[in-house]
């Protein structure tokens, strides 16, 4: 997993939140961490940037657990309860995972990595399902042997945009070469084998 992850830590104690940040920075997880001491205004922060994980002290969710779960769904976050007191286990069920202050660094990292794996699998499934209409247009023309420039002219878009579509196509299908994408297009019945300009 090479992508950069954004994590938000909601925890009033600087000792705990900075200690956690230190553990994350020393690990192989590439992440940027934002800190908040309460849930106040958190939506504004989440709206500005895509966060993958929220690590939060359960105390902060007690009084407004509905708001909290609303936020989780709205921003598609994985949640981790950050625990250093005794809580009723039923309250902790709302989290995808928990870490406690007595956990070893490696346990904390493993927990986070597990969630990241779930996230990336979920994300991939979503992506694979649909090529956008524009990507399909590009793919069809590509399969018919057109260059990026020709496709750009035909679709009234810039070559730069064509390249972006091609990158997304390769990312979604797992196929990079034009000849590979051509076969893919035929298999998906986006172009018919008879119309291919050269065989």
């Amino acid at each position: 997993m090479n992508r950069n992850i954004n994590i938000i830590v909601v925890e009033p104690s600087p000792l705990v939140s900075e200690g956690l940040a230190g553990i994350l920075q020393k690990s192989e997880i590439q992440c940027q961490i934002a800190f908040k001491s309460s849930l106040e205004d958190i939506e504004q922060i989440l709206a500005k940037k895509k966060y993958e994980i929220i690590i939060i002290n359960p105390l902060l969710t007690f009084s407004n657990s509905k708001t909290f779960s609303g936020i989780i769904t709205q921003f598609n976050l994985k949640s981790i309860g950050l625990i250093y007191a005794h809580f009723d286990p039923s309250h902790l069920q709302m989290f995808d995972a928990t870490i406690t202050v007595s956990d070893a660094s490696s346990t904390i990292i493993t927990t986070i990595n597990k969630l990241l794996t779930e996230l990336s699998q979920h994300g991939q499934n979503e992506l694979k399902e649909a090529l956008s209409k524009r990507e399909i247009d590009v793919l069809k023309l590509l399969a018919n042997g057109m260059s990026n420039k020709e496709i750009a002219d035909k679709l009234y878009i810039s070559t730069h945009t064509v390249i972006t579509h091609r990158k997304n196509l390769s990312h979604k299908t797992g196929i990079k070469s034009v000849s590979g994408l051509t076969i893919y297009a035929v298999v998906q019945k986006l172009v018919s084998i008879e119309t291919l300009s050269e065989l």
Binding site: G174, I175, K176, S177, S179, G180, V186, V187, I193
Partner: protein, 242 residues
């Protein structure tokens, strides 16, 4: 290609242990002209019998096992010829053995599967391999003769011909990436191409593509990590002695 537990190979190991641990090394010894059976002889003894530098053998063999090995006695200019012999044999193996085998499997597979799109598959592989063959040809015709010429000028100082314009740096640039299409092919076979009665052939094909990929990967590591640095050293040696 499946990987057995990697063992770090040393001169005193028995050659049989080395081969039983990673049978793919049978290709390696074959390209070096070493025959089986190897009895209970050590790597070092086998290399001596075949007039091959043990350091060179172990450097290659460890690459196959996923280890970058630094031999106690570094490779020398003298190793140039055996390295090139090895690579030439490796090329032959690709063009005369791997390519016809894979193409045969592909043709059988598309014959037994009448989905229209299967007709595109043989052409895809033929095109892919012609790119590979261009690269191999370029090495055989341009790069290897150039390197052997360098070597003979180093060993025979009296012969001071004009240094050719070519340099190994160009080779590195020309050393283009042919992995992409191979990956695409694997993805198409595993993810997308419609299935019909071709399970056995397709499985064979996929596994042989992985094997080819593994071998090509080692092949380019040998060139990038071993041959090119050695040649760069020869070039600067000649340059200084001018």
């Amino acid at each position: 290609m499946y990987q057995t537990t990697n063992i770090y190979l040393t001169p005193d190991l028995k050659m049989s242990v080395v081969l039983l641990n990673n049978p793919y090394l049978l290709h390696l010894i074959e390209h070096f002209g070493i025959n089986i059976p190897v009895y209970d002889k050590s790597v070092e003894v086998i290399c001596q019998e075949n007039n091959l530098s043990t350091a060179l053998f172990l450097t290659f063999a460890n690459l196959y096992n996923g280890v970058q090995y630094t031999p106690k006695t570094p490779l020398t200019y003298k190793d140039t010829q055996p390295i090139i012999n090895y690579l030439k044999n490796n090329h032959k193996f690709y063009t005369e053995e791997i390519y016809p085998t894979i193409l045969g499997t592909i043709k059988q597979m598309s014959d037994s599967n009448d989905h229209k799109e299967m007709a595109l598959v043989p052409k895809f592989f033929v095109d892919y391999f012609s790119e590979v063959a261009d690269h191999l040809n370029y090495e055989n015709k341009v790069v290897f003769p150039y390197i052997l010429d360098l070597y003979s000028r180093i060993t025979n100082v009296a012969n001071t011909r004009q240094q050719p314009e070519y340099s190994v740096k160009e080779y590195k640039e020309h050393h283009n990436d042919i992995e992409e299409k191979l990956n695409d092919f694997k993805s198409l076979l595993i993810k997308y191409l419609p299935y019909k009665e071709d399970r056995v052939l397709r499985r064979k094909l996929i596994l042989s593509l992985f094997e080819l990929e593994y071998d090509l990967n080692i092949h380019s590591q040998i060139e990038d990590l071993i041959l090119i640095p050695l040649v760069a050293k020869m070039e600067s040696h000649l340059h200084k002695s001018k």
